[in-house]
């Protein structure tokens, strides 16, 4: 595979000059993923931060063809583009090869776009769907989604005196996608750029649908010091909160096993959205989060055929 120096020479498909916040995970993840594609690519995007920040008319930050349709239909839209491609190719009306990718935030993927994503995956379109998971509806001002971690303070799950933040644990979308029995599913983090790059490469190469869930930290919504983004991303997998794994044709594989046990609170304490959990009366929530992280980690080990620690 290419090393970082080579990749840095590659012409970026998503140009600088977009208007994402400084230190936004979306830009980092998107650029790394698009580094892994060589053919012309058509990008579809759900409504959300990535879309509104990169396409303010009459400007565009995209060097490839790009389509935004609505919030919940990025997968269905790219299904249509890909179907058009197959039809035109078959009829000999189109010469070039194209690749197809859809990006959605967690709101546009786990929630409102869930049906259209599931449909597109089931139908087997040759496309990559990437969820840029920042764990909330950031574009509308940090509301909870079904990807928001338990305990997080958001504008619709505020930390109040009676209810201390979001009450439910997050949905496990990567597992749900794996249960669609599509050729390739992965969970990744831009901090481990090699891992993410390799996963993107595989996703583009498989014949059929691929899904990648990428952690995309949001300094505004998570309320951390922007330069800490790398630590935040690293601690997410070191604490096993955000495991890195892939599922190739139904075979689960763990990509990274932390050397030592790092409690999840190390990740929580860097972020303002969890600050209230460190008050004594909320301590039990941290314990519950830890128990759930451990439970899901054990399940993942089992799926990946790894020994329990």
């Amino acid at each position: 595979m290419a090393n970082l120096k080579e990749l840095s020479k590659k012409e970026e498909i998503l140009t600088g000059g977009h208007r994402l916040c400084a230190g936004c995970g979306h830009g980092i993840a998107t650029r790394m993923i698009l580094n892994a594609v060589d053919d012309p690519v058509v990008v579809g995007c759900a409504t959300g931060c990535l879309e509104v920040a990169t396409t303010i008319y009459p400007y565009t930050a995209w060097r490839c063809s790009f389509i935004h349709n609505a919030f919940e239909n990025a997968a269905a839209t790219i299904s249509g583009v890909e179907a058009a491609y197959r039809s035109l190719k078959k009829q000999g009306k189109l010469k070039e090869n194209f690749k197809f990718i859809a990006f959605g935030g967690d709101g546009g993927t786990y929630d409102i776009g869930f049906q259209s994503l599931s449909g597109a995956m089931e139908r087997g379109h040759n496309m990559v769907y990437v969820c840029l998971d920042n764990g909330a509806y950031m574009n509308t001002g940090i509301q909870r989604s079904s990807a928001t971690p338990r305990g997080a303070d958001t504008t619709t799950s505020p930390a109040g005196t009676v209810i201390p933040g979001k009450q439910q644990f997050r949905k496990d979308l990567a597992a749900i996608m794996a249960d669609h029995h599509i050729p390739y599913v992965a969970q990744a983090s831009p901090n481990n750029w090699k891992d993410l790059y390799n996963k993107a490469k595989k996703a583009f190469e498989v014949d059929g649908p691929a899904f990648i869930n990428v952690m995309a930290p949001c300094p505004r919504g998570w309320r951390y010091n922007t330069p800490d983004i790398a630590d935040i991303m690293r601690l997410a997998y070191e604490t096993r909160y955000w495991p890195l794994f892939e599922v190739e044709n139904g075979r689960w594989k763990l990509n990274y096993k932390p050397k030592k046990y790092v409690p999840v609170e190390e990740w929580l304490k860097l972020q303002g959205r969890f600050r209230h959990l460190f008050n004594p009366e909320n301590r039990h929530i941290i314990d519950e989060i830890q128990a759930e992280v451990d439970r899901r980690w054990d399940m993942l080990l089992e799926r990946c055929g790894e020994k329990k620690e």
Partner: protein
């Protein structure tokens, strides 16, 4: 060679789609439209078309995929009815605003609740402001003819707007009718090949579609869209002219039936126009000067032409197969009445809401409307501005 065949409305539309041979069709079932995509799926299964057939999981995705395909540079279609159209609502606007020449048959059906599978126009009328051109069809022949003309209208560079072709659920979609279909080659030549200027699958010239568009440009884009709708008027007539050369069948914004010297007249859409024509014939036989205007093009709304066509009428009834709950009549009534405002005469215009949820409209119902008009003509007065026809009250 053109040939006469017996087809249902749904078969006729599916036949038109087969001859158009779109690059992509997205399909989702809903009564009474379902048969169209079923027939079409057999054309796909038997290799009679080049189409990629995308069996989506909802109408929202059907319209979304159709938008994606059209944006990619393909001829793209889907079909729907009632709740399916309602579920597409968000994306209908996006299709029109992106100036995508999609063609979609809509088999008219009542909107829920209560759930009702039969015909009225609440579905397509609900979509009337979404920026789609709307063509209404009295029978299977017109639905078939409109489908073929729709492709040419939509793709005209001066237009580039999506077109909805409607026909009445069950009454037309499921009834067998004798009609003339055009031979495949002539359809192919008539619609020509589609060559979009800007499309996603162009590696040389990539584009960004559907961007964020703020107050500095959005208004201009809407203004251009309105202009395209205005241009559609000429194009619809141009295409109708060419279609007449091909088939001998005449189309315009509307059909004026015995309207020239009429003193009383009705404006109506789709299948009930056939019933109304019979009533007009009967009244003419009795020496009464009755006429009919069957509206074909509802978007763009040909207000000047309608006003000119009915200018000598003394009393006019607009019959609507949909409610607007505005307390001011149906969706056709208000713009027709407004179109007459500048005329230097004193036409009395009343509204009849009829046939909701598939309620039969029989000749006696329409005869009653003409009898009311006769009275209005004589007295210059009417009892009710809005009448619910054939309902228990």
């Amino acid at each position: 060679m053109n040939k006469r065949v017996a087809l249902t409305g749904n078969e006729a539309v599916a036949q038109a789609m087969k001859q158009i041979n779109p690059d992509v069709v997205a399909a989702y079932p809903i009564t009474p439209q379902t048969e169209i995509v079923q027939f079409f799926s057999s054309f796909v299964a038997n290799g009679q078309v080049d189409t990629e057939f995308v069996t989506v999981e909802s109408e929202h995705s059907a319209m979304s995929a159709t938008v994606g395909a059209a944006a990619a540079g393909a001829r793209a279609m889907t079909a729907t009815s009632a709740n399916g159209l309602a579920l597409m609502w968000e994306v209908l606007y996006i299709a029109a605003s992106n100036r995508l020449p999609i063609v979609m048959p809509v088999v008219n059906r009542a909107l829920s609740a209560p759930i009702n599978i039969h015909c009225d126009h609440s579905d397509s009328m609900g979509a009337r402001d979404s920026g789609w051109i709307q063509l209404y069809s009295e029978n299977a022949q017109e639905a078939y003819d409109n489908m073929i003309q729709a492709v040419k209208i939509a793709e005209n560079p001066k237009v580039l707007l999506p077109v909805m072709v409607t026909m009445d659920g069950f009454i037309i979609s499921h009834a067998l009718e004798n009609l003339e279909i055009i031979d495949d080659e002539s359809v192919k030549n008539f619609i020509g090949t589609y060559k979009p200027d800007h499309y996603l699958l162009n590696a040389e010239n990539p584009i960004t579609m559907g961007p964020l568009d703020l107050y500095d440009f959005y208004f201009e884009h809407k203004r251009q869209q309105a202009e395209a709708m205005k241009n559609a008027k000429d194009v619809i007539l141009e295409v109708a002219g060419e279609f007449k050369k091909l088939t001998g069948r005449e189309y315009g914004f509307f059909e004026a039936y015995k309207l020239d010297d009429a003193e009383i007249a009705v404006i109506i859409l789709n299948s009930a126009a056939g019933t109304a024509k019979d009533v007009v014939d009967e009244l003419r036989a009795q020496g009464k000067k009755a006429g009919l205007l069957k509206l074909r093009v509802f978007r763009p709304f040909p207000y000047e032409e309608i006003a000119a066509a009915v200018k000598n009428v003394k009393a006019l009834a607009v019959m609507d197969r949909a409610e607007t709950f505005s307390n001011f009549g149906g969706p056709v009534f208000a713009p027709v009445r407004s179109a007459l405002f500048d005329m230097k005469n004193d036409i009395k215009v009343v509204n009849y809401i009829y046939g909701l949820g598939g309620r039969d409209v029989v000749p006696e119902d329409v005869a009653r409307v003409y009898a009311d008009l006769e009275k209005i003509k004589e007295t210059g007065k009417y009892d009710n501005l809005i009448t619910y026809l054939g309902v228990r009250e």
